[in-house]
Symmetry: C2
Subunit: 415 residues, 2 copies
């Protein structure tokens, strides 16, 4: 696949994350106007509500603060919309004069959550991450749980905590029991961390088990996701029912949903399974994606250090396999369900997708420009970035960024 040139010059620039091949879906506002649907192209946003009449869809779908209505409309509508946008924005399109007035500069727009999150599930599908964390929590011998190579392990997270890139995150209080102490105490988390993930956004709902191929067709697109994690709260609470308050403070996602169609050319098989999977998890073709990922950490006083470089192709289970497993019990899946991949670590030290791994549980501080880190310090900003590299173009995700505020002095004081 090569660059599809647009009449909008900024979309054709080398290194532009949003060429015409991409067309990711977001929600934006300018000034006091209510948030509404937009599509990123070059350095602009196409105001979808303003051009809705040119799109030939049964609507209105776009004068809304979320893409949920479009997502629920299903793959035929998604394909038709993409084809029509390509027609309208391609170099030489006769509609240019009708479209151009409805392009809004990204620089002056505020971005919101691109969809209403129905429910949020977080998986654990990165093998190096599972191996690393398992080694730290349970020892090398019991690192990978016995079920791990047979199914995509996951847990339900908290949809209410999902925020869009740019929102600040406050260091949580919680119950912790430091090593050597007899009793737990309630204190600000001292081991607050990020997790680098890719997340699938479910478009079409299901009310019964689905095959991996059906699951793949249900996925509208992908976002970057930072599953902020309080490791000290997690270590004390997670047995026997899994992570709860350790992962409930916030989960940040990138503001643009990169559609499955845009990522189609970047499908790869991923690592071969160690042992055959049960037939209900069999992939009919390559379903992971070759997406380069990185994490930058920027202390309050700057400058940033890139602390992790990895690739989404490292995932052992694809989002389609995760979704098929999720629906296997008959669990109803809905438009707007968000499925985090789990932390995507690679095999090398600088490809580890969390500080827990990068500092090996705090025992081996990570060097950054102007200091070191075991876990996050107040004022630190964590930025995830991701892009698939095509032939002379990128499919970029934009940034997934959040700055850590200090804990409240007294979480129960009322102003």
């Amino acid at each position: 696949m090569v660059l599809i040139r647009s009449w909008l010059r900024s979309a054709n620039a080398p290194g532009c994350p949003f060429p015409l091949n991409n067309l990711p879906c977001g929600v934006f506002s300018v000034g006091e106007v209510a948030p509404r649907c937009g599509v990123a192209i070059g350095d602009m946003i196409l105001d979808m509500a303003a051009v809705e009449g040119l799109l030939g869809l049964t609507g209105p779908l776009f004068d809304a603060p979320s893409w949920n209505a479009v997502m629920a409309a299903g793959p035929d509508v998604w394909a038709g919309l993409r084809a029509r946008l390509l027609d309208l924005l391609v170099e030489g399109a006769v509609e240019q004069p009708m479209i151009a007035p409805h392009l809004v500069p990204q620089a002056g727009a505020r971005l919101h959550l691109p969809f209403r999150v129905a429910e949020y599930t977080d998986f654990y599908a990165g093998r190096h991450h599972a191996q690393n964390v398992g080694t730290m929590f349970r020892g090398a011998e019991h690192a990978l749980p016995p079920n791990w190579l047979h199914m995509p392990i996951g847990y339900n997270g908290r949809a209410s905590s999902v925020v869009v890139s740019g929102e600040e995150v406050r260091r949580p209080w919680g119950q912790v029991k430091p090593a050597g102490e007899d009793a737990p105490r309630f204190a600000p988390s001292a081991r607050f961390d990020f997790e680098l993930e890719l997340a699938a956004v479910v478009g079409t709902p299901s009310d019964r088990p689905v095959t991996v191929a059906e699951a793949d067709a249900m996925i509208f697109g992908y976002v970057l996701l930072n599953d902020w994690s309080a490791r000290d709260i997690q270590a004390w609470e997670y047995q026997p029912l899994g992570p709860f308050q350790a992962k409930a403070t916030a989960t940040t996602i990138s503001p643009w949903i990169v559609t499955r169609a845009a990522l189609q050319p970047f499908r790869v098989p991923g690592p071969p399974p160690d042992q055959p999977l049960l037939p209900y998890l069999a992939e009919p073709g390559p379903m992971k994606y070759d997406i380069a990922l990185e994490v930058a950490l920027t202390p309050e006083a700057g400058p940033e250090t890139v602390i992790c470089r990895t690739n989404a192709a490292q995932l052992y289970y694809s989002a389609a396999q995760q979704l098929a497993h999720h629906a296997s019990s008959g669990c109803p899946m809905n438009s707007g369900d968000l499925l985090g991949s789990g932390t995507i670590s690679g095999p090398l030290r600088d490809s580890r997708g969390s500080l827990l791994e990068l500092s090996w549980g705090g025992r081996d501080p990570l060097a950054i420009k102007g200091g070191t880190r075991c876990f996050l310090e107040d004022g630190d900003c964590v930025t995830l970035r991701g892009a698939a590299q095509g032939d002379g173009y990128l499919i970029g995700f934009g940034e997934c960024s959040g700055r850590l505020l200090p804990a409240r002095r007294d979480p129960y004081a009322r102003p």
Copy 2:
């Protein structure tokens, strides 16, 4: 508290679950009319949309298929509404002629989910249950996890799977690894179970940590809850991230939300904690409820056997403590959040709230009329019942009932 007599005679009958003291909130429909809000009184339902003009609230609130708008309106609105309904329905009320035409017989109405479930969390706050299950899964020595006496352990469940009493539940397929087998297989669950729970319905939202007293004030009311559980799927999947597909097939709730105000006279302190709790979990007064609970099992060929009798006062942690813990990390809580208590077992064999406990992991079959049970068989109907006993009146919950359908022959076949 004594019976408050109504001009509607059926509400004053001994044993009536819905006297004027109760006034639980549901959603009903008759024939083809769209579902809307109703309040149970005696053997009737008051059509709340039809009498909205007499209630003195800023609306419309009741011509809707859920109570969420009322729930979000907060405690002052709830108190005003209850006071006004008491005035309108009390013996001697002059408004009787205006109200009576809007009473609909319960016998001819269909009941729907009473509110839109925002998110569903399930706790593990019954000590006997935790002790019993822990003994079976991890041995007597490690039965109660070290954190259990310090915090209400919980996990996020799946809101999309919550259904109202009366809906049939289909036995799920899932990954299981029977003892002695080398590899897992994908099969219908052979150890499908119920769980007897009480659940709190959050009314007012929060966006920061809340005290136990604040949490209590946020709760709109309570329902009975059956957290259907596939024990064989659970045993294989739950390490290390907790229950997932084992609890995702369905969760049944009773159709009437019994308000916190109606339960006020039945507050009890519950069992004293074994050790002091951290201050953020301290209860300012008695916050458990004296609610008698029972479970009836009815095979397809009938008749029913009552297999469990217990009491909600057995809970170690109240819903207010659970909610305060849930919000302690800053996790935003929303109107419509549903918090299951965890299985409410008592100390005796016939007070155990699940078949897992009643048959001790299947090793000690439970006698029922006409047979025995280790786990549920196809066609079995499980009915939870609950009521608080006042001085000459009951606060009833109605029934929480569901019948188990056989597993699909091929879950991936399409009609």
